[in-house]
């Protein structure tokens, strides 16, 4: 079996990384969006949050609605 050349390996890696970026970026934006304020989410949906706020997570986990929908 002849080994695949360096060029084809690079092309393969580039293609896979490109598709992976297309998949990950929206997911990452959603994840980071959870730590932003609504205003910042609107103004800059992509990018690192300027200050990491855990308020929404606290709201969800301490509120009753989420647990009701989860079945408790």
């Amino acid at each position: 079996m002849n080994r695949p050349g360096l060029l084809s390996l690079l092309l393969r890696a580039a293609f896979l990384t490109f598709i992976a970026a297309l998949v990950i970026l929206p997911l990452l934006a959603t994840f980071l969006g959870g730590f932003k304020t609504l205003g910042e989410l609107r103004a800059a949906p992509f990018g690192i949050p300027s200050n990491w706020s855990f308020d929404v997570f606290v709201d969800i986990l301490t509120g009753s609605v989420f647990w009701t929908y989860l079945g408790f």
Binding site: V23, T30, G33, P45, F46
Partner: protein
Amino acid sequence: MTSIHPAAPAGARRRPSGFSRMRSDGSLTALMVFLPPAVLLFTLFVIWPIFTAVDLSFYKWNGYGDVTNFVGFKNYAVLLNNSIFHQSLFNSIKLLLASIFLQIPLALVLALLLYRKTSANTAFRLIFFAPYILAEIATGLIWSFIFDGDYGVSAMVADKLGTEPFYILADKQWAFWTIIVVVVWKYFGYHMMIFIAALQAVPSDLIEAAEIDGASPLKTIWYVKLPMILHAIKLSVLFAITGALQVFDIIIPLTNGGPSNSTHSIVSFLYTFGLARMNVGFGAAVGVVLFILCVGTAFSYKRLALDKGGQL
């Protein structure tokens, strides 16, 4: 039964057919015990709703009170002359073709690149499968941020290029492409996993034999790997067809059928014009048409592709 075919070849061993055979070998008792619960549940939750839908589709009913206003085939007549329904039918067909001719080739290429068990491949597989796990509504919301012409990626790209902001979700000509992109984005990993599982089951001595005979990688794929996973591809196409006809919860958060009802699928059309507008009889008629379309497509596909050659 046997007396009807006296000329049956003597060599063919006559098996007593169905009922009497089951009675003699005792499987009839098992059938009597184990079949009723399944039949009952199936009837209650599958057959009965179908017949209720067919029944309701002949009435004009807003969802409250008694069903009394019998209108015959009027719901169907209205439906067939509804230009929004034509558009939604056309959209569903577009989505179906995109699922088959964009999504499955992409999934196939990725599966061929990733099916060997290495840790890098596993990482990539995990990433590509992630969108499938995500809830459809969440997916729609994420992508509506991305396509947003004021704040999203769409706006960033327009800003970089120095052009006017492009509101793709509000553009009649292009809005449906966003739905195609999101559907492909969400489900290609699922098809890729089916292909990877099938490729891993291909006996490696076949591939090695082809390589020893001097087949190039492309020829190995075309003459050995693809024929060996043909059954998986056919199954995948079936999933793509039934999935494309049922797309609903990606459209609602993304475009909600707009602009001017140009991006409905059949199901979101059903929901918007049947349920949201309290026209349950009309919605039932859409549901019946959708059901016939789905069953018709799935059965004819099964006949044409799956049954051929005895695969599956």
